[in-house]
């Protein structure tokens, strides 16, 4: 319904513009044309011929390009020294719009001073060194604006195509079809870490980082935590979660409680193990450091949004000999995790891990959709390079065009 009325409005606007344009065109009388001719009765050079006026495409209707074939006298005895462009707008008379003469080697000119929706008359004037002139025939053209930039059609199609791929993948996932996600090494280590903690009779420390509940990485981390909680419930291993955000703490308490309940060990759940530490960055790091040094957990999970404190946490965890599984989408912090932890989920892997564990269709579907996107990029690069190497460069030119 909305769409229909919008189309209708567009049509009405279009026709109004057309009618106004036609009305303006008819304002030119034949007398005016003759007046121009009379100026040039003197002995004059041959006029430029083959005048073409074109409205520039894909703009906001403010430029017109005029092109011509050189006067027959051009270069013939060096009579011509250049050209002027004469323009008549609907309101006024013909006037010269070029401030300096156009050199004889050029045969086109772009007029950027027109107004949209008006029809202009153009004439090209050949000028000789003695000042004699002759005008070409007159051409009329309307400066129009484009509603759609045709140069961007491929970009537009790509946007549409990718949208369709993502949406259909999500619907595909929602329909209950199983979507495959590859093995993620860090996730496989989860069982190993929990097993070790159980054997040693030590606790597991799960750190969600500094993100709030609206953070994608924090949500992903909570999904992983809920899975870890299921295992610790089974093994009756202590799971400690120091939080940095009170709201995150509440959500986590709820999730872990549910996990313990569903595994049939509601009695093993201890609310005090999930606690709020402080929201300031370094104080939080210091607090968690203290816990690590005192309790010497057997396994440390660092999953979520981390900033500069990542380094302090990972190093302390490493020094107490815990098996550490880290993961973040904050690229700057990844080097520290990789160097100091046993397993690290790198960037998107964290999302994939969360999708894998939660089986949430939206996450699975978009992951799949993005994979199709990567496949397309992959194909473009491979095909492009093969063609380049045999000297065909249209893929490169295509990407040059769409990206500039």
């Amino acid at each position: 319904m909305k769409l229909k009325s919008a189309c209708l409005l567009g049509l009405i606007l279009f026709f109004t513009c057309k009618i106004i344009a036609l009305a303006q065109l008819s304002e030119f009388s034949s007398e005016e044309f003759r007046a121009i001719d009379e100026i040039t009765t003197e002995k004059s050079p041959a006029p430029p011929t083959n005048i073409k006026t074109t409205d520039k495409k894909n703009d906001d209707g403010t430029s017109i390009t005029i092109s011509w074939t050189k006067s027959a006298d051009d270069g013939n005895g060096a009579k011509n020294v250049g050209y002027n462009i004469l323009r008549k707008s609907p309101e006024g008379d013909f006037e010269t719009i070029t401030k300096t003469l156009i050199k004889t080697d050029k045969t086109d000119y772009t007029d950027d001073t027109v107004e949209r929706g008006k029809t202009y008359l153009y004439s090209v004037q050949a000028v000789t060194s003695s000042g004699a002139t002759s005008n070409s025939e007159i051409r009329s053209v309307e400066a129009t604006a484009s509603w759609f930039h045709t140069g961007k059609k491929w970009l537009f199609l790509s946007v549409v195509l990718f949208s369709v791929v993502v949406i259909s993948s999500i619907y595909h996932a929602r329909s209950g079809k199983d979507i495959f996600i590859r093995r993620i090494p860090g996730l496989e280590a989860v069982d190993e870490a929990i097993g070790r903690a159980t054997e040693m009779g030590r606790s597991i420390l799960y750190i969600l980082g500094l993100g709030s509940v609206s953070n994608v990485a924090t949500i992903a981390s909570m999904n992983i935590l809920s899975q870890v909680a299921r295992r610790t419930a089974d093994y009756e291993t202590a799971l400690r979660v120091p939080c940095n955000d009170p709201i995150v703490m509440n959500v986590v308490r709820e999730m872990v409680k549910t996990a313990y309940l569903e595994e049939g060990h509601p009695d093993a759940y201890n609310e005090q193990d999930i606690f709020f530490l402080t929201e300031s960055q370094f104080a939080y790091a210091a607090g968690v450091d203290g816990i690590m040094i005192r309790e010497k957990p057997a396994a440390v999970f660092l999953q979520g949004t981390f900033f500069a404190e990542s380094l302090i946490l990972a190093e302390t965890g490493n020094s107490v000999g815990a098996i550490q599984i880290a993961g973040t989408d904050k690229e700057h912090q990844l080097p520290f995790f990789i160097a100091a932890c046993d397993y690290t989920l790198i960037g998107e892997e964290l999302y994939a891990a969360s999708a894998y564990l939660s089986r949430e269709p939206m996450l699975l579907g978009s992951l799949k959709g993005q994979d199709y996107g990567k496949l397309m990029i992959f194909a473009a690069i491979v095909v492009g390079i093969i063609l380049e190497l045999i000297g065909v460069n249209w893929v490169t030119i295509f990407f040059d065009k769409v990206s500039n």
Binding site: G61, A145, W147, F282, A340, E348, Q370
Partner: protein, 213 residues
């Protein structure tokens, strides 16, 4: 009212902004300018969210005498002093600038310089060449570090026949293997950003609305 209207608004504004990108027409341009202007007007009001949350948490702490509640006064007083001077007199007032330059600047700068110490101790205690991956990371890090330090080139040029190898190798690492892995990451992340934007506009992703109905 609570969910459908915001989702519809998000959809309308999102779709309009995507389509305008492809339309050079002056009407589209002025619509575009208007929308940008609207978002500039709406945006600064979001300030109230952050301030309200901060004041609330510290106020609750003081009331409940939570651990370290005394420090919450420090937060609130610091904030009130800045606001009391800055709002009536403006940010270029001398007293306001003095507080900024002598309290905020040194502390902010110092806070992150702490990491210089931690990075050194982590380098010693945690960064081990345990696997091929970790080894590559360490080797690249060491080369870049020495290439960055002017002393690297200085010593090299003293003892070796050809000049500036450390900085040349560092530059090569940044421009070749580093560039290509970053490009791989950028391509992946950008697809993620676009797919998330699509989900937001279409109302599939609505976690930003928060909980509740």
């Amino acid at each position: 009212m609570r969910r459908q209207v915001p989702l519809a608004l998000c959809f309308v504004f999102g779709v309009v902004m995507v389509l305008i990108e492809f339309s050079p027409h002056p009407y589209s341009k002025s619509l575009y300018n208007e929308v940008i202007n609207w978002s500039l007007i709406i945006g600064p009001f979001a300030l109230v969210l952050g301030v309200a949350t901060l004041v609330q948490t510290h106020w609750i702490r003081i009331r409940r005498r939570a651990e370290y509640w005394q420090y919450s006064f420090v937060v609130l007083i610091g904030m009130i002093v800045m606001v009391a001077i800055g709002i009536p007199f403006g940010p270029s007032h001398k007293a306001f600038k003095w507080l900024f330059m002598n309290i905020q600047v040194p502390m902010d700068a110092t806070m992150f310089s702490l990491l210089a110490f931690f990075i050194a101790s982590a380098s010693y205690r945690a960064f081990r060449a345990r696997t091929l991956e970790a080894t590559l990371l360490l080797v690249a890090a060491l080369i870049v570090m020495i290439g960055n330090a002017p002393i690297g080139d200085f010593i090299w040029n003293k003892i070796m026949p050809f000049d500036n190898l450390p900085s040349t190798v560092r530059q090569w690492i940044l421009e070749n293997p580093n560039l290509s892995s970053r490009r791989g990451v950028i391509l992946g992340v950008s697809l993620g950003v676009i797919s998330q934007s699509i989900r937001i506009i279409l109302g599939i992703e609505r976690s930003y609305l928060g909980g509740g109905d």
